[in-house]
């Protein structure tokens, strides 16, 4: 079987190569050239700027302080994220036709799908090593660590990449329910690691954190090479189970992922990122017994109920929205309590989290945008329809971000520079954080106002049309055509706007709550005007 499989795959490759499109040597050379140029022109300056910034005394002190915690947390969250991602787009991915013709054939999937998985895992290992190497070299450069320690951390980063690859494949293999349990389990172990002193020795997040080449945990020195060996065993286990996972992949899942990815790629290539993202939005399969239309109370309650029940029919998305809003509230608390650049970093992180989370509850806005472009369907105006669909994101956002502010107050409360439980939860760059009880109420006010602003941004984003052709025109600069930057800015306008409104609002709270409220109201008026103009133009 193995020899026959190899022969078949060789024959398939021969036929594919006979068709030059997409895989000619020239294409590969051009892709390498483009990649090198982008890395040299865009990547290197960014990396250099980050390294120089982190090498500043204040920043490197924070890096040494929070490096282990952040390392372990990133590892845990990445594992959970890759498991979840596997349900949407796994590493075992070919074009739909090759899934049909090759993976649907009579050969074991451990052979036919091995190639894309190996490439994905290798890419993750390289990325893991590179991402780990960056802070490690910074702390080594400022004399807080040895080069050997930095290289060991980079090696651990590569192993973490392999483990993440295993999680990705596991997520692709698992059913939705199992996937959800795995994600919950991973996050639970992360909470244990954060909350229980001494758990670092038995949890991989602690192993990775202990290898951070400076500062860190008390347990770090004791773990040492054992931690690296533990990560190695974990990575080896991920590689060992990969064939079993590949053989267990189901054809319909593989085909639907391949088709979705191909469609999204086509849409993204044409500049329609919103439609591309829509390809990955879960479709409801549960909760058809829940009554979306029912009860009384007029249109407002009817639409609120309809949106809530509709959202509950995709439970995983609903949970993500709740968690995202909770994280948004927590980050707002951090931002309000921070000083210096830390305010903007935490506020922008909050804006992204909040924008993404509220996107789940913005299906109604998207529906209105579609309806507005068709013959009249509902008996109310487009603007009123938008208002009716705003109840769920506003109420949901306020409730869960309020909980997040409360959690933030409890976790970070009264701990200058962070620190809670077994490991430090310090946040703050170039300024530091000191969360006191007095921060909670301003943070709550800021969170509520920012939710309102983000809902308006969501309305603005939902009415976004196709990419204007004018943006495709060349923008000559001494460094070349900058039209790609213009297009990228257009694609990300809502995210940028979210960062600006949340950042300015949070920053304005430094001058007092009243000032913050006034600024937020002013920003709200501007965003509402932008949204209204876009909606009516559509």
């Amino acid at each position: 079987m193995s020899r026959e499989t190899a022969r078949s795959l060789r024959a398939v490759r021969t036929i594919r190569r006979a068709r030059a499109e997409g895989s000619s040597r020239g294409d590969v050379v051009y892709a390498v050239y483009a990649g090198v140029m982008v890395a040299a022109i865009v990547g290197v300056p960014i990396v250099r700027a980050v390294v120089l910034y982190l090498a500043e005394p204040a920043a490197s002190a924070v890096l040494v302080d929070v490096g282990p915690t952040v390392s372990g947390t990133v590892f845990a969250l990445a594992c959970a994220a890759f498991v979840a991602l596997g349900g949407v787009r796994g590493p075992a991915l070919l074009s739909p036709f090759l899934i049909f013709a090759v993976a649907g054939g009579g050969h074991p999937r451990r052979r036919t799908l091995l190639g894309p998985v190996v490439r994905s895992v290798l890419a993750l290992a390289v990325a893991g090593a590179g991402i780990a190497l960056l802070p490690a070299l910074v702390v080594a450069g400022v004399g807080d660590a040895t080069v050997g320690g930095a290289l060991a951390f980079a090696g651990a980063g590569a192993l973490v990449g392999v483990v993440c690859g295993g999680c990705w494949l596991l997520g692709q293999r698992a059913t939705a329910a199992v996937r959800a349990w795995i994600v919950v389990g991973v996050l639970a172990t992360w909470v244990v690691w954060v909350a229980v002193p001494g758990s670092s020795a038995v949890l991989p997040w602690g192993w990775f954190a202990s290898l951070f080449p400076a500062g860190g945990l008390a347990a770090g020195a004791a773990l040492g090479w054992g931690a690296l060996a533990g990560l190695g065993v974990l990575a080896a286990a991920a590689i060992a189970v990969a064939p079993l996972l590949l053989d267990g992949l189901r054809g319909p899942v593989l085909l639907s992922q391949a088709q979705r990815w191909q469609t999204a790629g086509t849409l993204a290539f044409t500049g329609d990122l919103a439609m591309a993202m829509g390809e990955f939005r879960a479709v409801p399969r549960r909760g058809r017994g829940l009554a979306a239309i029912g009860g009384g109370g007029g249109l407002a309650l009817m639409f609120a109920r309809r949106d809530l029940v509709g959202s509950l029919r995709t439970p995983a998305r609903f949970a993500l929205a709740c968690a995202g809003c909770l994280g948004f509230g927590l980050l707002i608390t951090v931002a309000v309590g921070a000083s210096g650049p830390g305010v903007w970093i935490a506020a922008c992180a909050a804006a992204i989290a909040g924008f993404l989370a509220l996107g789940v509850w913005s299906d109604g806005f998207r529906h209105v945008a579609e309806v507005a472009a068709a013959p009249p369907l509902y008996g109310v105006s487009t603007l009123r329809l938008l208002g009716l669909h705003a109840a769920l994101p506003v109420v949901g956002g306020v409730v869960f971000s309020g909980v997040g502010v409360g959690v933030g107050g409890m976790v970070l409360g009264g701990v200058p520079g962070g620190g809670g439980g077994g490991v430090g939860v310090g946040v703050g760059v170039g300024g530091g954080v000191g969360i006191g009880v007095g921060v909670v109420w301003p943070a709550l006010a800021a969170a509520v106002l920012c939710v309102m602003l983000l809902v308006l941004v969501r309305v603005y984003d939902s009415a976004k049309g196709p990419l204007p052709l004018a943006l495709m025109a060349p923008v000559p600069t001494p460094a070349g055509d900058a039209s790609a930057l213009v297009v990228a800015a257009w694609q990300a306008d809502a995210v940028i706007l979210s960062g600006v409104v949340v950042g300015v609002t949070v920053a304005s709270f430094a001058g007092g709550v009243v000032g913050g409220v006034l600024v937020a109201v002013g920003l709200g008026a501007v965003v509402a005007w932008l949204a209204r103009r876009r909606v009516l133009a559509g």
Partner: protein, 233 residues
């Protein structure tokens, strides 16, 4: 003779909504079963279960003695089918598609190309061999989808309304090819609304749903037929 297909009380429902009422099938090699019924009666669902693309809520199916499991290479070797539009590569011609599929089943490149040419000839698609999938008419696309399903080795063929979008002449091609396949000992299960196709191919009929569908001519010239809400064939 052992059964090529043996399914017992297959049922699929989602949230109490029945997509397929309990259905049983027993077919020998070389038989052809026409699955009929009105829209929504569960024809495609039954085919998807037999092809391993959907899992029944209850009941079990075995094909050539082994449980239906799409993850098993052995199962995939036995069962082929055309249910819905097949995925195609936009950068491959029809001939290349067929050759690639044939090659993936163990043929050398030359053998695969010969196999593809023969299949194109059989489906009278030779004139279109250099076309890309998007350059086909809907009827030509349907013939090409069927050709993709039979260019590979298999024992059981599962087809969902193979007559779709075909004119009478092209339907005649489908009938000829399927007769050849059945004569070679292969088992065919197909959902259809075409009386012509059913009468030409089917040795047995399974009617799903209880509202009559196109049952008027079900028993015309076939050797066996079943009419059921809890269907058996």
């Amino acid at each position: 003779m052992s059964n090529a297909i043996e399914a017992s009380k297959l049922r699929l429902s989602i949230d109490d909504v029945a997509l397929l009422q309990p259905t049983s099938i027993r077919l020998a090699a070389g038989e052809a079963l026409a699955v009929t019924g009105s829209n929504g009666s569960g024809k495609t669902t039954l085919l998807r279960i037999l092809a391993g693309l959907a899992r029944p809520t209850s009941g079990a199916a075995r094909i050539h003695g082994a449980p239906v499991d799409e993850r098993s290479p052995a199962f995939r070797r036995v069962v082929s089918g055309s249910i819905g539009r097949p995925p195609v590569a936009r950068d491959l011609t029809l001939e290349e598609h067929l050759a690639l599929v044939a090659a993936s089943w163990g043929s050398s490149v030359d053998e695969a190309r010969e196999r593809a040419a023969a299949e194109l000839e059989r489906w009278q698609l030779t004139a279109l061999r250099r076309r890309f999938p998007h350059e086909l008419s809907s009827g030509q696309s349907q013939l090409f989808a069927l050709a993709l399903a039979v260019v590979r080795p298999y024992e059981v063929l599962v087809l969902d309304e193979p007559e779709q979008r075909l004119d009478p002449d092209r339907l005649g091609i489908v009938i000829d090819v399927l007769r050849e396949e059945i004569a070679a000992g292969r088992t065919v299960v197909f959902a259809t609304h075409s009386v012509v196709l059913r009468q030409a191919i089917a040795s047995r009929i399974l009617r799903l749903g209880g509202d009559g569908g196109d049952a008027g001519s079900d028993s015309s010239d076939t050797s066996d037929s079943s009419d059921s809400s809890g269907s058996d064939a």
